[in-house]
């Protein structure tokens, strides 16, 4: 693959950004659905939103922002040729991702334990606005969680390549693109947080 082949780093980054735009539109569509249903069921959304665990939401926001900092620093570190630092920073990022997902597990367990999940007897008996809220919540946050899992896997793969020396100060577009993906995960959460945890 490598050898004397021409590598187009600008093109690789452009491709990543184009993919990220489709991700923005995907989550944008889910936010739009949320907004349209909020306009239709303001009372039910308000009641359901007040049951969200603000503590978990805030903690996970801080974790994701910090992980975003770590991966941004990893790009700086690779540009400076500090390989050991890159590995430490990527390790920290993946650790943050794991903590985020563990919190999500605790949060969802508590909610499912309270009979809040799509199709539960509590939600089917309740007002339709409430079940719409929770369906959108599980869909949006679940899809975001899947992105966290994919991002962490991708960054682990990148870390292995850094360790092997195939990603280095002269060729690090894979790390750059992995970092961009991770920042997108953070960016989406920055909007999920107020919509589901704060404004209602």
């Amino acid at each position: 693959m490598s050898g004397g082949l021409h590598k187009d780093n600008a093109g690789a980054k452009l491709g990543m950004w184009l993919f990220l735009f489709t991700e923005l539109l995907l989550f944008g569509g889910l936010f739009l659905l949320y907004a349209a249903y909020l306009a239709r069921y303001p009372r039910e959304f308000g009641a359901a939103g007040r049951e969200m665990h603000l503590g978990f939401g805030t903690l996970n926001t801080v974790i994701l922002i910090t992980s975003s900092l770590l991966v941004a620093m990893a790009v700086t570190a690779i540009q400076r040729g500090a390989r050991r630092m890159v590995l430490l920073l990527l390790g920290g990022t993946v650790l943050c991702a794991a903590t985020f997902l563990f919190n999500k597990y605790l949060e969802w367990s508590a909610e499912i334990g309270n009979g809040i999940y799509p199709g539960s007897s509590r939600l089917t008996a309740g007002p339709p606005g409430e079940s719409v809220f929770y369906s959108l919540y599980y869909l949006t946050v679940g899809l975001h969680g899947l992105h966290v899992l994919i991002g962490a896997t991708l960054l682990t793969f990148v870390a292995v390549r850094v360790q092997r020396g195939t990603i280095h100060a002269g060729d690090y577009v894979l790390l750059e693109n992995g970092a961009l993906y991770w920042h997108l995960v953070d960016l989406i959460w920055i909007f999920i947080f107020p919509l589901y945890y704060l404004i209602l």
Binding site: W17, A35, A36, L69, G170, D171, A179, L187, L198
Partner: protein
């Protein structure tokens, strides 16, 4: 070290940390605003804070501030498409 990205720009640890602190401060602010219910304004306030936080992440963490015109225009285009979707949907939803 020879074949780095041509338009390589190194953002210092200090600058990244400053952005991180700003993001944490904005998170604290948005939680405070939500807890001290300041009427309907808090919905727009929370969203405005989220937009500022998103802007900081895109500009500095994602290096958009240091990218060329092509990526900036593409970002502008993607966000405009999203804004048009949202605008037209609400034109329908609110005035039905």
């Amino acid at each position: 070290m020879t074949t780095g990205t041509s338009e390589q720009h190194i953002v210092s640890y200090g600058k990244l940390t400053a952005i991180w602190l700003a993001l944490l401060a904005l998170t604290a602010l948005t939680v405070w605003v939500a807890r001290h219910n300041v009427g309907i304004g808090h919905v727009w306030g929370s969203l405005a804070i989220a937009v500022i936080k998103g802007g900081l992440v895109i500009a500095f963490f994602m290096h958009m501030k240091y990218e060329g015109r092509l990526l900036r225009w593409l970002l502008f285009f993607a966000l405009s498409v999203l804004a048009i979707f949202i605008g037209l949907t609400f034109f329908d939803v609110l005035y039905r």
